[in-house]
Homo-oligomer: 113 residues x 2
DNA sequence: GGCTCATGCCAACTATTATTGGCATGAGCC
DNA sequence: GGCTCATGCCAATAATAGTTGGCATGAGCC
């Protein structure tokens, strides 16, 4: 995960740039947990937590999997995906070169499609 | 710049999480430039560029200084501030622990005020 | 003086994101 | 059956961030 495409970098950074998500990540770093549990733990609503978890998941920073508790309840456990991102001006410059976002008139040919 | 406070981390990440700013940073990594020049270079309006430059500057990712051109014009040159940020779950967790953002009921005592 | 180029800034609008509350479902437990 | 607990999702409303256009200033150049 040394360097990713500009678009992906933006996604990951945008995902990490949030106090709530940072806390969620921190909580999960201390051990996995299921949604309701985590919500109580962090003192936020489940609806809110779920949105943030989804964003974290989409960015690939956490993963989820269902698990049945002893009494048959379906619990959705989340855990952190190990990652290592080294940001430096050069890395950023390299990533920027692969940005696909419109805005400056040059839309790089996308090899993946 | 190994690890910064949660608040600062969020600020830096939020600042980097933008295609425009990534491009600005990339452009500056290739060499310093003054505002109007850079705007033409990137194909965006000065007003827009200035907003982004300000944000980058506030986050400490770039620095600016006035300089007089040969014909007396005051040009504001910007250049990238070298930085190195290594992001990992642990770093994030540590940063999250220092977050001051309200939201979960605990507002850490702020020494500065 | 009138033209160009550079900076700075604001007011207004649009687009995105964040957050809340409520509602529906499925499954044990009393 | 009625209660609790867990998930999932949506519609509506804040709250922010992004963008545009225009206007004002100061300084060379013709």
């Amino acid at each position: 995960m040394g360097d990713l495409s500009g678009d992906r970098l933006v996604e990951v950074l945008a995902t990490l740039a949030s106090p709530h998500r940072l806390r969620v990540l921190a909580a999960l770093t201390g051990g996995r947990a299921y949604v309701s549990q985590l919500a109580r733990d962090l003192g936020i609503s489940r609806a809110l937590l779920q949105v943030h978890l989804k964003k974290l998941e989409r960015a690939g920073l956490v993963t989820a999997h269902l698990e049945l508790s002893g009494d048959g309840k379906a619990l959705k456990y989340y855990e952190v995906t190990p990652f290592s991102l080294h940001l430096t001006p050069d890395v950023v410059a390299a990533a920027a070169a692969t940005l696909s976002t419109a805005g400056d008139g040059d839309a790089p040919p996308k090899g993946t499609s």
